[in-house]
């Protein structure tokens, strides 16, 4: 009875009236328009699978799970890029903490390091992406505002010096702190990595990083099959999915296997020194103990493991 009083519907809402038929038509049209509007979602990704959607965080994967994931990723690469790649998961070695030093007195700004990074790490070809930006700086100033990363003239200019910047692998990385889903973390050997299959793409880390070290995959990376570096690892240079963050890993797929980073091998001037900070006999330790060291934005207190030094 109270239904009748409190909720007696307006007379026109029941039965087959013209008003209701028009409403039904309107609702149908609306639903059809909605389906049409979100239809692009169905064309998203060729290789979208339930396994990919449900994949757990890297640190939660058992050895067996990880092998299954690596196999799936290799098949995806084959399907989407037409190339046979080999994806490994190489772990940090005990007793190793990587450090990098760069001699500002000899760097000539040729950007071979940036190019080597581009090739080694399977970067998107169209955007010419690289984890390294080289700034041409005016002598007599460390003010980066006076620097220029987009120079297109022969190097080395006499009144300039050159400052390559890449991930500084901070001891206290703000990018790791801000990540809401722990998709990025610092490995035991000091390298800050990203799980490309866990990152949600919020780009908070990119806002937090003071060194412009992080890159976002604004689109699906495009690389011709014959240009792809097939030797890949899960946490470093495998081809990244669309919509996730990536960053320099000191080429951990090389350096954890005893090789040097691609940027160092490419440098024609010998400006770059890479090694184990925990090994007292390493070259990097010698540099840190005997050269005048300069740390970029040291005042922020993030304790980078990337050091600049001067010879003269």
């Amino acid at each position: 009875m109270s239904k009748e009083t409190i909720d007696s519907p307006p007379p026109a809402t029941g039965g087959v009236t013209r008003r209701n038929v028009i409403k039904g038509l309107g609702a149908t049209l609306g639903l059809a328009a909605y389906a049409k509007a979100i239809a692009p979602l169905t064309e998203w990704k060729e290789s979208a699978t339930v396994d990919e959607f449900l994949q757990q965080h890297y640190k939660e994967l058992s050895a067996v799970d990880l092998q299954i994931v690596l196999g799936r990723l290799e098949r995806e690469a084959k399907k989407e890029y037409g190339v046979d790649v080999h994806i490994t998961d190489i772990k940090a070695q005990p007793g190793v903490k990587f450090g990098y030093a760069l001699n500002l007195s000899v760097c000539n700004g040729c950007r071979k390091c940036a190019e080597a990074c581009h090739i080694e790490n399977n970067h998107d070809r169209g955007s010419n992406n690289s984890y390294i930006r080289v700034f041409e700086m005016s002598r007599g100033s460390m003010d980066m505002e006076k620097g220029n990363a987009n120079y297109e003239h022969p190097v080395k200019q006499p009144d300039k010096f050159y400052l390559p910047v890449q991930c500084q692998q901070c001891e206290h990385p703000p990018c790791v702190d801000v990540c809401p889903v722990e998709a990025t973390w610092k490995e035991p050997d000091g390298i800050v990595v990203v799980d490309y299959n866990w990152c949600i793409g919020c780009r908070y880390c990119e806002a937090a990083c003071p060194y412009h070290a992080r890159r976002f995959n604004w689109e699906k990376p495009q690389i011709a099959a014959h240009e792809i570096n097939p030797e890949q690892s899960y946490l470093s240079n495998r081809i990244r999915p669309q919509g996730v963050m990536e960053k320099c890993t000191f080429c951990l797929h090389r350096t954890r296997a005893g090789r040097l980073p691609a940027c160092l091998e490419a440098c024609p001037t010998g400006a770059r020194v890479f090694g184990n900070l925990l090994d007292p006999k390493s070259e990097i330790r010698w540099v840190l103990e005997n050269k005048r060291i300069f740390i970029l934005k040291e005042d922020l207190g993030l304790k980078p493991q990337f050091f600049y030094f001067f010879d003269v």
Binding site: T5, I6, P40, W198, I200, H212, R215, W218
Partner: protein, 432 residues
């Protein structure tokens, strides 16, 4: 008469409750899809805009965020700008509850639900903007505590997830309770909602503080790295919230043709008179520190207000915002503002738009220009970004319209019944 008296038979058993709740839901559903010509035109317009936005978003998910004008230099843009503004609007909506409950302003009780409903719609929009900004919305489940991985308490973004969703739940509860009780013809029991109202006041401050901490905790972004950010956010929220509610009350008055909300409008105008000046004062304080101190930390402010190295895409935006806020402040300070509804409306629209620019395009974007390595890459939103933004706003207004309409209908229906049941004319019922 007998029908009306019968309506006082309230549900007691669980079964009766379920039945009356079902009736309540049905009534709400009918209200959402039934109305006059103006209602249909408005709703179809909003639906169309929302669908344009949904389509642009679907394309963005498919093709990647390259269709926006964001870049690795300016990695947050229009979406996060709107998100920030809307968190403020949500907070500002509920902070209007303070005068009602703290000072027992009985007439203010009328508009409490208007503010609470605004908070619901604004939070939903804010959450939509976060989703629009995600590169991988399919992985949103990684953010769910216990199911995904939740970097709490280190990441401020996890705090924001908690406070925003909590705030949404609190306000949904309060509004549903108030409406349902009214629907049953009961006077809401203060014990069941006043504690939550106070909780929502504290919570409103928390959502905007946490959102400010998202930005001001970043040492690498000097433009945001100021302790004044959270107070500034709150002050501007107390401008945009009342401005929107005043405009909403004007619309409600036209639709329901009743003498409603004169007192609350005067109270809200008085609130804005103070908050708009506090906000301007804080802007001046920031500007003084930036420009008097100088140095490279000033370059973002320099870029925003004056342009830097020949780049000045944001300069017209920020000066428009300042002009709008100053004009609004001037209008609000005139003594005759409350007796001139149109002048008040203009002041509210200007203040609302001014704060929207100041907090979004004038705050989020210059945080990235120049970049952390002092490169200047400019940003203005792409067409796709504008479409998605308009779509989310349309959807939010759609929700707000429906919620207000349901509320209005529940109260109007109650009033009729009361009038029919009571031998003497009933006094104007309060909305809450």
């Amino acid at each position: 008469m007998s029908d009306a008296a019968a309506s006082n038979a309230l549900p007691h058993t669980l079964r009766e409750h379920v039945r009356s709740q079902r009736r309540f839901a049905w009534r709400a559903f009918v209200e959402a899809f039934d109305g006059g010509v103006a209602f249909y035109v408005w709703m179809i317009f909003l639906t169309a805009v929302a669908l344009v936005g949904a389509n642009a978003w679907a394309i963005q998910v498919r093709d990647g965020m390259g269709i926006t004008h964001m870049s690795d230099h300016v990695s947050w843009g229009l979406y996060i700008a709107n998100f920030t503004f809307l968190v403020g609007l949500a907070a500002g909506g509920v902070l209007m509850v303070i005068p009602a409950y703290l000072y027992h302003d009985e007439e203010m009780h009328d508009i409490v639900i208007v503010g609470e409903l605004l908070a619901i719609a604004a939070i939903i929009m804010a959450l939509f903007f976060v989703v629009a900004d995600l590169g991988r919305p399919d992985r949103f489940w990684h953010l769910i505590p216990f199911i995904g991985k939740f970097n709490f308490p280190v990441s401020m973004l996890t705090w924001d997830v908690i406070v925003l969703n909590g705030y949404l739940l609190i306000n949904v509860y309060i509004c549903t309770y108030l409406l349902y009780e009214r629907f049953l013809g009961k006077k809401p029991n203060p014990r069941w909602y006043v504690p939550f109202v106070f909780l929502s006041i504290v919570w409103a401050i928390s959502i905007h503080t946490v959102t400010a901490f998202l930005y001001c905790g970043l040492g690498g972004r000097p433009f945001w790295n100021t302790a004044l950010l959270a107070p500034r956010f709150l002050a501007s929220a107390f401008v945009s919230g009342p401005a929107f509610i005043i405009l909403a009350i004007q619309v409600i008055r036209r639709v329901y043709r009743r003498d409603y909300g004169n007192g609350p409008i005067a109270t809200l105008t008085n609130v804005m008179r103070v908050t708009i000046l506090i906000n301007l004062f804080m802007v001046v304080s920031e500007l003084f520190v930036e420009f008097y101190t100088g140095g490279s930390h000033t370059s973002a402010a320099h870029y925003l207000y004056l342009g830097l190295h020949g780049k000045h895409a944001l300069v017209p935006w920020i000066w428009s915002a300042i002009a709008m806020n100053l004009t609004a402040a001037g209008l609000l300070l005139t003594s005759s503002i409350t007796t001139h509804p149109w002048r008040l409306n203009v002041a509210c629209v200007l203040a609302f738009a001014g704060i929207w620019i100041e907090k979004g395009i004038g705050l989020i974007i210059p945080g990235f220009i120049p970049s952390t390595l002092h490169e200047i890459v400019e940003y203005l939103p792409s067409v796709a970004e504008w479409k998605i933004t308009a779509g989310i706003w349309a959807f939010g207004l759609l929700i707000y319209t429906v919620l207000l309409k349901i509320t209005g209908s529940v109260f109007a229906r109650r009033r009729e019944l009361d009038a029919a049941a009571a031998p003497t004319p009933a006094s104007t019922p309060e909305l809450a």
